[in-house]
């Protein structure tokens, strides 16, 4: 976010905010030019609805002598100041201003061609921002989940025959984070609550995840109808094979 230096003038901060958060930077200046067109050609209604609100906003929230005083009282406003730029109906000004100019011509063909030209011009000018949108990469592991858990969840999601598999994790933290990673999972607490393994059948658990080298637990799960189907560096995955008693 744009930092605000107490020695910086309010106007400099305002321009920096516009150029930083309303890119391409000329967008708002473009809209300002069309505001003038709307004020001249649009008549009283356009002036009341677009020009005078803009004047009031410039005198208040965009006043470079006023908002530094607000920043002294509420420093957290610095981070959020760019949101005040949403008050400027820039794309309304662009649409209305161009329409006013185009419809000053009498010929239908001229109006149609001008509107098409303006639309093409807008799209051409906006190519940098359209291109940058395509280049935004998706964040990897934005939830900062344990890689072991991701491996387990991805495997189970691939192997499951149902859209909402019921999974019992031996580790309670895995149980809680797995739901955040894949909301389609249903979690059973049967393995991390004491004496809860008997509830695996009642909970309809499809998959169990336990730590490796736990022969007693492995035997218990096999006696309940679960079979080991995969393992990761630290854990083993068991799947339900018997749906009967």
């Amino acid at each position: 976010m744009t930092a605000y230096e107490t020695t910086e003038s309010g106007l400099s901060f305002l321009i920096k905010t516009i150029l930083g958060y309303q890119a391409p930077g000329y967008f708002l200046f473009f809209a300002a030019g069309l505001l003038v067109a709307a004020a001249i050609f649009g008549g009283k209604q356009f002036r009341i609805v677009f020009l005078w609100p803009f004047v009031i906003l410039c005198a208040t929230v965009f006043n470079p002598y006023l908002f530094p005083l607000l920043f002294e009282r509420w420093p957290e406003l610095i981070e959020e100041y760019y949101r005040f730029l949403w008050l400027i109906p820039a794309f309304l000004l662009i649409g209305g201003g161009f329409a006013l100019i185009a419809f000053k011509f009498r010929s239908k063909a001229a109006k149609f061609l001008l509107i098409l030209t303006f639309a093409a011009g807008i799209l051409l000018l906006a190519v940098p921002s359209l291109r940058s949108y395509r280049e935004i990469p998706l964040p990897a592991n934005s939830l900062k989940a344990d890689p072991e858990l991701i491996t387990l969840c991805d495997y189970i999601a691939g192997e499951s025959e149902t859209d909402t598999p019921v999974i019992a994790f031996e580790r309670e933290d895995f149980a809680k984070e797995a739901v955040a990673y894949n909301p389609s999972f249903r979690i059973s607490s049967a393995l991390y609550l004491p004496g809860g393994a008997g509830n695996l059948k009642n909970d309809g658990v499809n998959f169990c995840v336990i730590a490796k080298s736990r022969p007693a637990m492995e035997e218990k799960l096999q006696s309940l109808g679960y079979r080991a189907i995969a393992h990761t560096p630290e854990n083993m995955i068991f799947a339900q094979f018997f749906t009967g008693n």
Binding site: Y21, Q22, A23, P24, F27, G42, K44, Q45, F46, R47, I48, V49, W52, P53, F54, I56, L57, T60, V61, E80, Y82, R83, F84, L85, W86, L87, P89, A90, F91, L92, I94, G95, G96, F98, A99, L100, A102, F103, K111, I115, F118, A119, I122, L123, L125, A126, S129, L130, Y133, P137, L138, P139, S142, L143, K176, E177, V179, A180, P183, S184
Partner: protein
């Protein structure tokens, strides 16, 4: 029925609910022809405000999500029934709504542009990480049958609500939709809410120009198309249209793309009509709706309302607009005091 089909029907149903409820407080004055787009916009404002009040009361009363759902459904049903009673005669005569009114060429083009934007919202994966928190909370609420009580991830129980937790209840309606339809909250937000916001935004943009151009279809349609194209073209993560296409389901997107333009539309309607109490009530309800959308709305909505209504009242000589403005500032002011002193 696939999830996407159900979600599409849900989005259409949501717009229909807004349309029916909008009949209670239409923008049109008595004797003036009603507009489909303005009726839907009015319905969105009324529904958002009513859901905010309902959700806050239910949260303070520690009601479960199921109990809140019953309250909300009953409330919305009463509003819809009231609207049908009020508009009974015009429904009976088939004149309940006239039309959006656009020249054929620009109407087709505008519909195509809005639909492309809506589909893009659904298909393009956003890079923003914040919505995960909203969806996680909605999922936790549905699973635990509570309202904002369980902390997602840890599933610990909240012992108290922050002011933001209590007041920003915009997603209560989406949680209600997810619970009633069985759709996952992710689908409700991405496939239902975001396109509905895009369509509402397009409707409001068109009606602003229709009113400003005194009902001339060609200019209104052309201006609306150019405005929508400009909004889609010039965007970053911080512009209103950038919000719409990156995180259209959030309260900030509804604030920047629906509510703030709706304030402009309300100002234009007050400017051009004889004194209309219903539009003043809509302005008041939009203040309550602002509280539900985002804490930023408590700064932005008053700034927008004052900057639009003061010139309308002074230069348009609509002095009752100032009274409506003063009364409308009550809800955001009360919310601001809660944020500061609670």
């Amino acid at each position: 029925m696939s999830h996407i089909t159900l979600a599409a029907f849900t989005a259409a149903g949501e717009l229909l609910v807004y349309f029916i409820i909008g009949g209670i407080l239409p923008f049109a004055a008595k004797g003036e022809k009603k507009s489909l787009f303005e009726t839907v916009t009015a319905g969105w404002i009324v529904t958002t405000a009513v859901m905010e009040v309902t959700a806050v009361i239910c949260m303070r009363a520690n009601l479960s999500l199921y109990e809140f759902s019953r309250c909300a459904v009953i409330t919305l049903s009463v509003l819809m029934a009231l609207s049908m009673v009020i508009n009974f005669q015009s429904i009976f005569r088939g004149t309940a709504v006239v039309s959006g009114g656009m020249s054929f060429f620009f109407s087709v083009f505008a519909v195509i542009v809005v639909m492309i934007g809506s589909v893009a919202l659904v298909l393009i994966l956003p890079a923003a990480g914040d919505p995960g928190g909203i969806i996680a909370q909605m999922s936790a609420d549905i699973r635990s049958d509570s309202m904002h009580v369980m902390i997602p991830g840890s599933m610990a129980v909240r012992t108290s609500f922050s002011t933001k937790d209590l007041l920003v209840r915009y997603h209560a309606f989406d949680t209600l939709v997810a619970e009633l339809t069985g759709l996952h909250p992710m689908i409700v937000m991405r496939v239902v809410r975001a396109p509905v916001v895009a369509v509402l935004s397009g409707m409001i943009i068109y009606r602003i120009f229709y009113r400003l151009f005194d009902g001339r279809h060609g200019e209104s349609g052309a201006a609306a198309v150019l405005a929508i194209v400009a909004g889609a073209a010039f965007r970053t993560a911080y512009t209103p249209s950038g919000l719409l296409y990156a995180e259209g389901w959030t309260g900030n997107a509804s604030l920047a793309c629906v509510l703030l333009p709706a304030v402009i539309l309300i100002g234009i309607v007050i400017l051009k009509q004889e004194q209309n109490r219903r539009t003043g009530i809509l302005l008041f309800l939009s203040g309550i709706a602002a509280v539900s959308l985002s804490p930023s709305a408590l700064m932005l909505w008053p700034a927008a309302a004052v900057s639009v209504m003061v010139p309308v009242s002074v230069f348009g000589k609509k002095w009752k607009g100032l009274i409506a403005l003063m009364l409308s500032l009550a809800a955001p002011s009360a919310a601001m005091l809660m944020y500061v002193y609670r």
